[in-house]
């Protein structure tokens, strides 16, 4: 028992590191005064280490703490993704006026980001219903506070409150669903649920109800329609750095958990005669059809509503809802190709979406506005950043030669290969709609003349360096995507699943 625990602990190094870093930020902020960036750097160091340790776990495949958490290529992938985005968010924070103007609370900020990252690391690996709920709650509680971080601004508090209320309700519903599932199967770990479901038939209505309830929780985390109502308000009210973090890392962790939950618990493990990498849902329980409906609703509503937004943060919020819809398409197809496509999409999404948010932040720092109207003539005032923004948007819309195209390509490929053709067509048409609202911003930047102040906006070299850090992968992976695809192909493997 002790031996097993020690073995587990050694596999728990990334999470332990984050915990240590979390404690250190608290201590450092106590001793090093309240007006320094020191805590941000401590958090940064902790995250870099944790990401490095996760990187070290590549190739491992086992469960630790008696099946509570899985350490497998799939979880490592998402830990890397979360770690990388958290690192980038902390880099953003160094230049965010919202964070810099409230430096006296930087300790709190860094500690909460670390707590959130820790929660997401656990979400990436959780393979037990209890662990799943704990991880989600750890992430959610930290993000509620962070969403209201700039408490001077009323919309920030409003965002936080809305977030909590929606969060509480959806977690409650999810827990209820989990209790039904436990009642049906008598197991809390994903593998046990699968065994129970394959061995004996359960009341299918009860199972359906419990799955839909659990989907409410996932849907809330990944902001899928119709559980998305909090997203625009929270994204608009929260500090931009946190919005960006929520839009990428939180969504990634939610997807990781959801994909693992469904793939481990709800596929027919005894199905025969399938090509490798293709699975099938449990007899008579086609949960992927529910996900397909969610996907269509999510991307269509996200895109259609985004067209009417005038605040760029809100626009990106709806665009991120739409992207969640695209990624759900990869879950629908029940194959490793679909999962790999989602992973590829997340890698791409990390760069392009964080890039877009970063530019919004830089511009808001200077102009104090996130309104699309304030972007008029930006192309003339700050050409480099504007061109970068165009490329991020083109990538979000999924046009070659950017990485966003590769993401869409693999998603559509997975769908067509599994002959989900109608869904692919819906997805393709959606990306046409999305182009319209992205181009609205581009139009304001380049086709309109500046209103009022037409002074050039200058940015410091490190600020531009971060733009480049996000821009170059967006372009590079659009043309040479082998590394991305290879990583995704290697990372779809979950513990105990062929």
């Amino acid at each position: 028992m002790v031996e097993q625990l020690l073995q587990s602990l050694s596999r728990f190094l990334p999470e332990t590191t984050l915990t240590v870093a979390l404690c250190s930020t608290v201590v450092v902020s106590l001793f090093l005064g309240r007006k320094s960036q020191a805590t941000l750097f401590v958090a940064l160091a902790g995250l870099v280490l944790a990401t490095w340790f996760s990187f070290d776990q590549m190739g491992v495949s086992e469960t630790i703490f008696s099946g509570m958490v899985a350490v497998d290529p799939f979880s490592v992938f998402f830990k890397l993704l979360v770690g990388l985005s958290a690192i980038l968010i902390l880099l953003f924070s160094l230049y965010s006026s919202e964070v810099q103007s409230t430096l006296h609370r930087a300790g709190e900020y860094s500690a909460l980001i670390l707590a959130m990252a820790l929660g997401m690391f656990l979400m990436a690996g959780a393979s037990n219903l209890l662990m799943m709920v704990l991880a989600i709650e750890l992430t959610s509680l930290s993000s509620y506070i962070l969403a209201g971080y700039t408490r001077e601004a009323s919309d920030s508090s409003e965002a936080s409150l809305k977030y909590i209320i929606y969060g509480a309700v959806s977690t409650g519903v999810m827990l209820y669903g989990i209790s039904i599932l436990y009642g049906l199967t008598g197991a809390t770990d994903f593998y046990g649920i699968n065994r129970a479901l394959t061995e004996e038939s359960v009341n299918s209505v009860a199972l359906l109800v419990s799955i839909i309830m659990i989907l409410v929780g996932f849907g809330y985390k990944i902001s899928a329609v119709p559980f998305h109502f909090w997203t625009p308000d929270v994204y608009e009210g929260a500090p931009i750095t946190i919005t960006a973090f929520l839009s990428v890392a939180s969504k990634a962790a939610g997807f990781a958990l959801m994909m693992r939950f469904f793939k481990v618990s709800f596929i027919d493990a005894n199905a025969v005669g399938l090509p490798t990498g293709v699975w099938t849902s449990l007899q008579g329980f086609e949960w992927n059809k529910i996900v397909a409906i969610l996907s269509v609703l999510t991307m269509t509503l996200g895109n259609l509503v985004a067209v009417w937004q005038n605040n760029l943060k809100r626009l990106l919020a709806y665009s991120s809802i739409a992207h969640a819809g695209y990624m759900l398409m990869g879950v629908v197809v029940l194959s490793d190709k679909g999962l790999a496509a989602v992973l590829i999409y997340f890698m791409v999404y990390l760069f392009m979406n964080l890039g877009a948010f970063y530019v919004v932040m830089l511009v808001a720092n200077k102009t104090g506005s996130e309104d699309i109207d304030s972007y008029k003539g930006l192309g003339h005032r700050s050409p480099l950043v504007s061109v970068a923004m165009v490329i991020f948007f083109i990538s979000l819309a999924g046009l070659p030669p950017t990485a966003g195209f590769i993401g869409k390509l693999f998603l559509f490929a997975a769908l067509l290969d599994a002959t989900w053709i109608w869904l692919a067509v819906v997805g393709a048409l959606n990306s046409v709609v999305s182009l319209y609202y992205y181009v609205r911003v581009v139009r304001n930047m380049f086709l309109r003349d500046p209103e009022g102040n037409a002074e050039p906006i200058l940015f410091s070299t490190p600020q531009l360096a971060i733009v480049m850090l996000l821009l170059l992968p967006t372009l590079f992976f659009g043309l040479f995507y082998s590394p991305m695809v290879e990583l995704a192909n290697a990372s779809v493997m979950m513990f105990g699943i062929r």
Binding site: G277, L399, A413, I421, L429, L435, Y436, R443, N489
Partner: protein, 531 residues
């Protein structure tokens, strides 16, 4: 053929990108360099295109055989090692030309060069303009030389953004509307094309000669061989429902570009709002991509569907010809008139393609080239008068022949070429198209010839209203066409006259490839019927 170890097709495609980078590096104050650099770059491109054109072996057919392709460059671009459930992913950097594409390569180089001359008086952010123009140039050239579908698609999409900016920033009063309309329409077409492309990818496998494993491929030539279709895959077989659907998806993608009725509504807007040089490129090259795509991809890959849908295609051609001409007749804006005349003239291309015989096809591709040069002239001519009078209203002019005799002369050549006067290039290609189509679709062709009469009517009527009759006092002081404008127009006029008198120069290049294409499409269906 290689230069510095890099193939000539790579040079001709990516030279403009080098130019773009150079233009962006040059300081903004140095206006001269910003103008001359693109001119030199596109000039070199023309030289390369001419070298390709004259070194081109006219006897080789190409279309679906690697051996028949010339100036081939083939290398691995993406090679992702296989996993059991995905297989290896290989994307090739595969370029080559045959008779079908070599004419388009020449046209693209030529029109790009002319477009740079026509852009000489652009003042608003010249650097950005030239950079976008050169990027567009790479996209266009790439589409015509790519033989790998993935590569083709990337080039196809690369054109969208520069075009959006070129219309949207440097265009006329309603430029924003026109630009976004163009962008959305084209993207709608290309996502359908993307889905068809992916479906093809998962249906076609080739053997990797080195390892002997079966790999999916984007290679267009492999897609043209029915034997490569994996049994049981989505697009395998002949005349299946999914093949027809994929053909229609591809067709819509290309039809929007051509544009074929009812997808043509973006065209008048884009043409009217675009600056002169961009209208020239749009009409001269971009419209050809649609028909080129159908001939290069749809026909040889889906011969069964091409035969199945041939009558609808001919009917669409008829609609394009007659409807385009009728719309043109109703216009008072000269540029809009010419935009609609493009719809009508591209209809002739479609009719030639629908003929499914060598005469018709040769006529179609020759008409693509001729329409490129003639319409480029027409738009340049509109640009000349608009720069001077700041209006394009046909009725507000009159008697311009007196004040602008040289201009009138060149305009007359262009107008007569457009209405298909014998002795000028347009006549030959239209005659071939109708001749070919008459054998296959008799009634439709007879009805289509109404388009010729209508074309003559609106062209001559416009000519009469603008140049003949009483001079309008308001325009008495208009200066005649200047040297720079002539330098853009005269080379095109020469080509129009030379090809009108000696069409063999171009037809020789086309014949063997198009003969072979007809064979591929014709035999495509019967081979299919054998179980």
């Amino acid at each position: 053929m290689e230069l510095l170890g890099i193939g000539i097709l790579t040079w001709i495609t990516f030279l403009p990108i080098i130019g773009m980078v150079a233009v962006l590096i040059v300081p903004k104050e140095n206006q001269g360099a910003v103008k001359w650099l693109p001119l030199v770059i596109t000039g070199v491109q023309v030289v390369l295109a001419v070298i390709i054109f004259f070194n081109f072996n006219r006897g080789m057919a190409g279309i679906n055989t690697l051996e028949g392709m010339q100036f081939v460059e083939k290398g691995t671009w993406i090679d992702i090692k296989g996993v059991p459930w995905f297989g290896r992913i290989v994307v090739e950097y595969f370029m080559g030309v045959d008779g079908l594409s070599v004419s388009m390569v020449l046209l693209t180089a030529l029109i790009s060069f002319i477009a740079v001359i026509a852009s000489w008086n652009i003042e608003k952010s010249l650097k950005g303009y030239m950079a976008m123009l050169l990027l567009l140039d790479t996209g266009m050239m790439g589409v015509f030389v790519a033989l790998d579908f993935f590569l083709f698609y990337v080039f196809w999409e690369v054109m969208l953004l520069p075009m959006y900016f070129l219309i949207g920033v440097w265009g006329g009063p309603r430029r924003e509307y026109a630009a976004i309309k163009f962008f959305l329409y084209t993207l709608l077409g290309s996502v359908l094309m993307l889905l068809a492309m992916i479906a093809l990818y998962f249906s076609v496998t080739v053997l990797d000669p080195s390892t002997g494993e079966k790999i999916y491929t984007f290679n267009m030539l492999a897609m043209m061989d029915p034997a490569n279709f994996e049994p049981g895959s989505l697009l395998a077989g002949v005349g299946t429902q999914w093949r027809y659907i994929a053909y229609v998806a591809l067709f819509i993608g290309f039809a929007i570009k051509v544009p074929i009725f009812p997808f043509h509504t973006w065209l008048p807007d884009a043409h009217v709002e675009a600056p002169t040089a961009i209208s020239v490129i749009l009409a001269g090259v971009l419209l050809k991509m649609g028909t080129y795509g159908i001939l290069r991809i749809s026909y040889p890959i889906f011969p069964d569907a091409a035969n199945y849908f041939v009558v609808p295609l001919a009917i669409l051609a008829l609609i394009n010809i007659v409807y385009g001409a009728l719309c043109a007749m109703a216009q008072t804006d000269l540029k809009k008139l010419i935009a609609y005349s493009s719809v009508s003239h591209m209809g002739v291309v479609l009719l030639g393609m629908a003929a499914m015989n060598t005469q018709g096809m040769v006529g179609a591709v020759f008409q693509m080239f001729n329409h490129g040069t003639i319409t480029a002239m027409l738009f340049l001519i509109v640009g000349v008068i608009y720069d001077r009078a700041h209006t394009r209203d046909i009725d507000s002019f009159g008697g311009l022949a007196i004040t602008m005799p040289k201009y009138t002369g060149i305009m007359t050549v262009a107008f007569f070429a457009a209405l298909g006067l014998p002795g000028l290039s347009g006549f030959i290609s239209e005659a071939f198209s109708f001749l070919g189509a008459f054998q296959t679709h008799r009634v439709i062709t007879i009805l289509s010839t109404a388009g010729i009469v209508l074309t003559a009517a609106y062209m001559l009527w416009a000519l009469q209203r603008m140049f003949l009759g009483q001079p309008n006092e308001k325009w008495a002081g208009l200066p005649d066409i200047n040297g720079r404008e002539l330098s853009a127009l005269v080379p095109l006029a020469i080509i129009v006259i030379v090809l009108g008198v000696y069409p063999g120069l171009m037809i020789d290049v086309l014949t063997s490839s198009l003969n072979h294409l007809v064979e591929v499409v014709k035999t495509g269906a019967p081979v299919a019927l054998v179980p």
